[in-house]
């Protein structure tokens, strides 16, 4: 599916450097100990992704070990960033490792001052019900003799952070439901 590589020394090839290092290590017991410290990314599953922040489209490698993200770095094979990343790009690991991500879907009842955790099924059922209810009560089939088949009572907003396929699906469902208030970050 994909091959990834590591960025080596500027001019010296990695293999040479490693050999050199090992040869020289032989003379220094202290160094031997330090080198025994395994490279953090030595035994990780590496997956290429594209940076979720700006639109330069830098390649990023995600290193996963024991079902956790242990490092993220610029994809050296990527022709744009060639292994480099800015502060934001360098930080994508924390999008996973952070403890700030919500644990469950959450529901806030009218007038309530707190969230309640809910299951996805419950949420989906309730949202589908609300969508249908609002759509059906506001749907306009014809206006001024023109078939318009729309509802202006539901609005959809966002998607610039999502994938093309997701955006396509969202616009498809929203327009399928008859929405005209479809907007996202490109407008602001």
């Amino acid at each position: 599916m994909f091959e990834v590589s590591r960025r080596q020394f500027l001019k010296l090839s990695g293999a040479t450097a490693a050999t050199l290092a090992i040869v020289e290590l032989g003379f220094d017991p202290h160094k031997a100990k330090a080198a025994a410290k395994e490279l953090k990314t030595a035994r990780t599953d590496v997956t290429p992704t594209i940076c979720p922040y700006c639109s330069v489209g830098c390649g990023i490698l995600i290193h996963v070990k024991d079902n956790d993200v242990v490092y993220s770095e610029g994809d050296p094979d990527h022709p744009i960033n060639q292994g480099s990343l800015c502060s934001k790009g360098s930080s994508v690991r924390d999008l996973y490792t952070t403890d700030r991500r919500p644990k469950k879907p959450m529901y806030r009842a009218p007038g309530s001052d707190r969230w309640e955790e809910k299951e996805w099924d419950w949420m989906l059922d309730r949202i589908a019900e609300k969508v249908k209810e609002t759509r059906d009560s506001t749907f306009v089939v014809n206006e001024d003799g023109i078939p318009v088949n729309r509802t202006e009572a539901i609005a959809s907003m966002g998607g610039a952070a999502l994938e093309n396929e997701e955006c396509y699906m969202i616009q498809k469902l929203m327009r399928g439901l008859g929405l005209t208030f479809i907007e996202h970050q490109a407008r602001i």
Partner: protein, 278 residues
Amino acid sequence: MTAYAKFVDVTICTGCRGCMVACKNWNDLPIDTQAYNGTYQSHDKCDGKTWNVLQMKEFETASGGFEWLFRHQACFHCTDAACEKVCPENAITTTDMGNVVIDQEKCVGCSYCVYNCPFEIVALADYVNEDGKIVQRAQKCDMCDSRIHEGLVPACSQTCPLDAIVFGTKEEMRKLAEERLAIAKEKFPNAMIYDPPGVDGTNMFYLLPEGPEAFDLPVNPKVPTSAVIWKDYAQPLGKMALGGTVMAVATAFITNKLFNKGHGHDEEGGDIDESTKE
């Protein structure tokens, strides 16, 4: 031994601070949010929790121009490393690649390196020791020792979008620095290479757009004279003198036993009270 070096071209750094995040990411360093200081700069200086800090300097040039300059600051990996010199535990060593590393398992947290670093880079920070206890140990940039010994460049260097941080043999880096200097002179007439001879050169060295003063860097950093006196004179001399004194005392003890029969107050003074012997 081939010395490797990290060359930092301050004239092209755009201040994105990718290096700072990559460093924390690779080294799993803790967060150390500082109080608002009135500028974009996040930390005053490097310390044990933040191994590299991007210094952001607003600077008015002599010709009335205005510059906003960004300097990646991290351990200089001095060839003549004061920290290594003063470490009483041999916890600080220069590796075969020229980077200076601290073995936190050997470090006892005495701070001698902290006080003697000519660049105020090394600092104590929390460290979980072998017993799982949190202790204070000297920490600083190790030039991503495990990476460079596997043929990878340091994390900051890999992430730098501008190749303002480049890693390679010192020789290659010196050459590159000279080339970059020639280009940089056009925009920055005062540009210079900062590879201070007082510490025998550093394995992290700069192309600076302005003199070191503009960046609060020492003009001629050296291993502190006090450290030289202490390590090269006071301590060896002290040990020798102590040895000499002990020898003299031992000799005197024997010679007095042998030759000083008629003197002293043994008789009058009685026995020595054992409890007062220290």
